[in-house]
């Protein structure tokens, strides 16, 4: 952790409002995005943000790790969010296996030809991110397992490297890459099932 972060944490822990505001402006949005990405609930994400900030400010000055403060915060946020989700909304989650491509013995894809060549990618992004399409996308994201959404947010939204994501979620780089790929394939499948027919 940098000495700047350390100083800021020490000041915030002693009740310095300016230091707290500085920490919030650096980290609150990032924590919220990740917490919301995992919990998919604004109310749960708010509780996670409060919990994480308290932990960071109260324990931060004793944190002697070599990791940057940001990585440490992402790790706490991931753990708190996953804990909050434990036992919730499993009914919505789909077995990813059903959403991965199926192949013939010769390695080529199996399935209905019209579905295999279905291409909705020409739909403008603003159209995909509004109305019914947006609802379909949000439902598809909801159906991913929590720990898959965690790596998606860390990688694609927070733009961390595979190495950083692996350290945060406590897994190998290979496992992170596999999880990302499977999550994206599953999302693509769900979107194609719903959007493909309209393209």
């Amino acid at each position: 952790m940098s000495s700047d972060d350390h100083t800021l944490l020490a000041r915030a822990a002693s009740g310095d409002g300016e230091a707290l505001d500085a920490l919030m402006s650096r980290y609150a949005s990032r924590i919220y995005r990740l917490a919301y990405g995992i919990t998919r609930s604004s109310a749960d994400a708010e509780e996670v943000v409060q919990d994480v900030f308290l932990q960071v400010v109260q324990k931060g000055t004793g944190f002697e790790g070599r990791a940057a403060l940001g990585s440490w915060i992402y790790r706490i946020t991931t753990n708190v969010s996953l804990n909050k989700r434990r036992g919730k909304r499993r009914d919505l989650e789909t077995s990813l296996e059903e959403l991965l491509p199926r192949y013939r013995a010769d390695g080529h894809r199996e399935g209905d030809r019209a579905f295999l060549v279905s291409d909705w990618s020409g739909t403008p992004e603003r159209e995909l991110l509004a109305g019914e399409s947006r609802r379909i996308l949000e439902e598809a994201i909801d159906r991913l397992p929590d720990h898959y959404r965690a790596v998606l947010v860390l990688k694609d939204v927070e733009e961390l490297s595979n190495d950083e994501v692996a350290q945060i979620v406590g897994d190998t780089v290979a496992a992170v890459k596999t999880r990302l790929h499977r999550a994206r394939m599953a999302l693509r499948e769900l979107l194609t099932q719903r959007l493909g027919a309209r393209a």
């Binding site: 915030a12 822990a13 009740g15 409002g17 707290l20 505001d21 919030m24 609150a28 949005s29 919220y32 995005r33 919301y36 990405g37 604004s42 708010e46 943000v49 409060q50 900030f53 308290l54 400010v57 109260q58 491509p101 192949y103 010769d106 390695g107 080529h108 894809r109 030809r113 295999l116 060549v117 279905s118 291409d119 909705w120 990618s121 739909t123 992004e125 995909l128 991110l129 947006r134 996308l137 949000e138 994201i141 998606l152 947010v153 694609d156 939204v157 890459k177 990302l180 790929h181 994206r184 394939m185 999302l187 693509r188 979107l191 194609t192």
Partner: protein
């Protein structure tokens, strides 16, 4: 290269991290496989819109509540 092999390395292709020969093999396959071309463009679009959709902002009222919550807690500790 088969469809299975192509799809397995799609992220590396889109990230531009494939070795030259593998990239050439993949592009040869794409040139002759309509389903894989459709898969590639919809996969890429999925990455893009998934990222945009996940870029949520913390509401201002929530930020204000967080500030009050932390100041109260830290004052009391």
């Amino acid at each position: 290269m088969t469809c299975r092999e192509l799809i397995a390395i799609l992220d590396d292709y889109l990230d531009g991290t494939l070795p030259d020969q593998l990239r050439a093999d993949l592009e040869d396959h794409l040139a002759n496989c309509v389903p894989c071309r459709a898969y590639l463009v919809t996969y890429r679009k999925t990455r893009e819109i998934g990222t945009t959709a996940a870029r949520v902002e913390m509401p201002d009222e929530m930020r204000a509540r967080l500030r009050r919550f932390l100041r109260d807690k830290l004052r009391g500790s």
